[in-house]
């Protein structure tokens, strides 16, 4: 019982055990933060998204039916929150500005390779949101197509189609950059 499973914590949190909820949230904070950072490329924004995600987890825990795993459910909330965030941001500024702004700023590691990685993320930022989500889940987070489909609440074939399109779009975008 030293290291209770997510499911165990979820069950207890749903019964009103606040410490179980706390444990659940602090356990997954970094995971969500890293996924959010991959999405937006700015530390502060990633922190904001992560906070939103956990507030939503608290809001929705009562209706979490447990048909998906907690991890899947958490990523679903993360992706949706990040998409919302991206949409709000894109109403204010041009798309993919976050990654670009980050690139222009003082890079912590101005190596050539790091630069190429950031360019790749900037290019992903230009993809339609669901393509981007599928691409990040599978390529960066290591989800299987099936798991990603469950996060995105679509068919597995759709994920594959998203990835196919994303790859095509990226090749196009990447060749533009270089």
């Amino acid at each position: 019982m030293e290291n209770p499973s997510d499911q165990n914590l979820v069950d207890r949190a749903r019964k009103g055990d606040a410490s179980a909820f706390e444990c659940l949230a602090s356990r997954h904070y970094t995971t969500v933060y890293r996924a959010a950072y991959r999405w937006c490329g700015v530390r502060e924004d990633a922190e904001d998204i992560t906070q939103d995600v956990f507030v939503k987890v608290a809001q929705k825990l009562g209706s979490f039916a447990g048909r998906a795993s907690f991890r899947t459910w958490l990523y679903r909330i993360t992706v949706n929150t990040a998409m919302d965030f991206g949409r709000r941001r894109s109403t204010r500024t041009a798309l993919s500005s976050a990654w670009k702004a980050e690139m222009e700023g003082p890079a912590e590691n101005p190596g050539e390779e790091a630069e190429a990685v950031r360019q790749l993320y900037a290019a992903m930022d230009g993809l339609p949101p669901r393509q981007k989500a599928a691409a990040l889940l599978v390529w960066a987070e290591g989800f299987t197509h099936k798991e990603a489909a469950s996060v995105l609440e679509c068919a597995e074939a759709t994920v594959s189609a998203h990835l196919f399109q994303a790859r095509k779009n990226l090749q196009h975008l990447l060749s533009e950059v270089s």
């Binding site: 069950d11 019964k15 904070y29 922190e47 906070q51 608290a58 009562g62 209706s63 679509c154």
Partner: protein, 638 residues
């Protein structure tokens, strides 16, 4: 290619999150969890309440006794059973792809947008939507469940999560009269800040500093200023100078301006378009239901020839009611009753249709106004806040004004509300209770709806031979440049029928030990004996305004002389003392930089003796707020 992409994506350097952000996030999440818990969401039946104890036991290695294990098992079964009963009907649409509005060029199964709102409600936030019905059921379940008395812990007031957005600002600084003798600002008759502060305090926490706009707190109250005689000079200033309650070495200059009131017969015809946010988040009892009641009260007060139209924005933006004369009250009320929260805020052409309707029944002699009611999401069809502001500004020039009514807490976008109302020549009010709705929409309907003067600017010039320093209390967001005073193209606040506006300056007389800024070594005080110095003038007050419809401004002037000076605080009028107490309260909430240790109790005793007739009990309520502020926790404080 996949491998290659994977490798490259994994090389991203991700900076560590800040510990403070992490703590803040976990705190906010836990606060939300506790809020839901109090709403009964995570409790199944009363006798399982003891399971809460497990929270504490858990940290210490988790020793569970047999009973706890048994009850834990039972409650799992019960949860499963109850969710089987309650949840499926709501999950049926939750399980669909949520983001039907997102562009999905390649999604083969992309769901067609279903016209029937009740069937499929695409939303940014499914929990918000499902929240209302589910909460209701859950709460009912808890209510009928046998909750043993005393077993349920006393709920703590919900922690303030603090995602409402306020423009930040610093208090006006002390100015040296010799260097900067002229103070210019625009009037502000908004009261939103007071209601927000009240709500925060009633919930047991101090409001965020930037939510406190001292001038709005002061202007929330009615003051008995002298009423101007006729509408040609629509208002009259009342002025007094008395010792500052929190600093005997300085004086308070109290300026009150009273607008004349319209007798009902003289009222211009009103052409109102309500633009109502019916997104899912509006479903809470303090939002849409409160708003309906508020509008009902307003409609009751309107005249037969006035017209009302109703436009909603949310998943489906649309006109619910064409402009309808109030004579036909039944139809208006029925349309109002039909409003229901649901759907996302992605709202088609909400604001445009509202203005189009206002234009269609435009009355050049009447008052044409769009009243926007929302909990903060201004997704009204024009996405960019600046475009929205410009749009509102252009419409204002056509003669259609905008008022903004804010509801709810948690997502409230105060900054944008203020900007919109300011650009639309309207006022922003924050409605937290039915009583506040009555105040804004019924008692002050005339002032809210019928402007008597536009672009009202106030300028005070201090006499350097008598006043060493001055400081305007509040009005930080209303500062104007000195030259803007005479520039009729610079927009400023409007005053409605019967409105009063109050401004307070803390002034330091020449020679007072309270002077905060040292004299300049090389500054000259040679002009001390200027003509004004000898005449006993302390300052000179100028008010510039435009009559409705007018493009040219007019001016009201009044010297402030030694004859306006009162020797003691007790000698000042009840209104002056009360305004001073409210000013102290607001400054204290903002940190009290200039208050010289004036305590909550001092504020209380100052206000207590200045309650006056207090016909509606607002001042008494203020006293309660001061008491609450004394014990309230700051945000994040344990």
């Amino acid at each position: 290619m996949d491998r290659d992409l994977q490798d490259r994506l994994n090389k991203l350097h991700i900076p560590d999150p800040q510990a403070s952000a992490r703590n803040e996030a976990l705190r906010a999440a836990l606060a939300e969890y506790q809020r839901r818990q109090q709403a009964g969401e995570f409790r199944t039946k009363g006798f399982f309440g003891r399971l809460r104890l497990m929270g504490k036991l858990f940290q210490g290695g988790f020793p569970m006794n047999r009973t706890a294990v048994v009850t834990a098992g039972l409650s799992v079964v019960l949860v499963a059973f109850v969710s089987a009963l309650v949840i499926p009907q709501f999950t049926s649409y939750r399980a669909r792809p949520i983001r039907t509005e997102a562009p999905e060029p390649s999604a083969p199964e992309s769901v067609p947008v279903v016209a029937d709102l009740n069937e499929s409600r695409p939303a940014a936030d499914p929990a918000m939507k499902t929240g209302a019905p589910r909460d209701a059921k859950m709460e009912m379940r808890v209510a009928t469940g046998a909750v043993a008395p005393g077993e349920r812990p006393v709920p703590l007031p919900p922690e303030y999560v603090g995602r409402d957005r306020f423009e930040s600002f610093d208090p006006n600084p002390v100015r040296r009269t010799q260097e900067d003798p002229v103070s210019t600002f625009s009037v502000d008759v908004d009261t939103a800040s007071y209601a927000f502060v009240r709500r925060a305090l009633n919930a047991g926490h101090l409001p965020p500093k930037h939510a406190v706009r001292v001038e709005e707190l002061i202007n929330y109250f009615d003051y008995d200023y002298a009423i101007p005689g006729d509408r040609s000079v629509p208002f009259r200033p009342t002025v007094s100078v008395f010792p500052t309650p929190w600093n005997p070495q300085t004086r308070l200059l109290h300026i009150g301006i009273q607008g004349f009131d319209l007798v009902p017969d003289e009222r211009p015809r009103a052409n109102l378009v309500f633009l109502v946010d019916v997104s899912g988040s509006m479903g809470m009892p303090d939002k849409l239901p409160l708003l309906k009641n508020a509008f009902r009260m307003l409609v009751d007060r309107m005249q037969a020839e006035d017209t009302v139209a109703l436009v909603v924005y949310a998943g489906s933006a649309g006109t619910v009611l064409e402009p309808t004369p109030v004579r036909d009250k039944g139809r208006i009320l029925a349309a109002l009753d039909r409003l229901e929260a649901g759907g996302s805020t992605a709202g088609g052409e909400g604001i445009r249709s509202a203005y189009a309707l206002a234009e269609s029944s435009f009355d050049p002699k009447g008052v044409n106004r769009v009243i926007l009611a929302t909990d903060g999401d201004f997704n009204v069809g024009i996405q960019d806040p600046e475009t929205l502001q410009h749009f509102v500004e252009r419409e204002r020039e056509k003669g259609i004004y905008l008022s903004v009514l804010g509801f709810g807490q948690g997502n409230y976008n105060d900054a944008l509300m203020q900007k919109l109302a300011q650009n639309g020549n309207g006022n922003a009010a924050y409605i937290d209770t039915l009583q506040e709705a009555r105040k804004v929409l019924v008692e002050e309907a005339a002032s809210t709806l019928f402007p008597i003067a536009n672009d009202v600017k106030i300028q005070v010039e201090f006499n350097p031979s008598r006043v060493a320093e001055y400081r305007l209390i509040g009005y930080e967001s209303r500062q104007l440049r000195r030259e803007d005073f005479n520039n009729d193209r610079v927009d400023a606040g409007e005053i409605g029928a019967g409105h009063s506006v109050t401004a307070l300056y803390e002034i330091t007389p020449v020679g007072s030990p309270a002077q905060r800024i040292d004299d300049l070594r090389y500054g000259s005080r040679a002009e001390e004996n200027s003509k004004a110095g000898a005449s006993g003038e302390i300052a000179f007050l100028r008010i510039r305004y435009k009559l409705p419809e007018a493009q040219e401004s007019r001016i009201v002037e009044r010297p402030i002389t030694t004859a306006d000076v009162l020797p003691t605080v007790q000698g000042a009028s009840e209104d002056s003392r009360f305004a001073a107490a409210v000013a102290a309260f607001g400054q204290r909430l903002r940190g009290g930089t200039y208050l010289e240790g004036f305590t909550w109790d001092d504020i209380l005793s100052l206000a207590e003796t200045a309650r006056g007739k207090d016909r509606f009990g607002y001042r008494t309520e203020f006293l309660n707020l001061v008491r609450l502020a004394e014990t309230a926790r700051a945000m994040g404080e344990k």
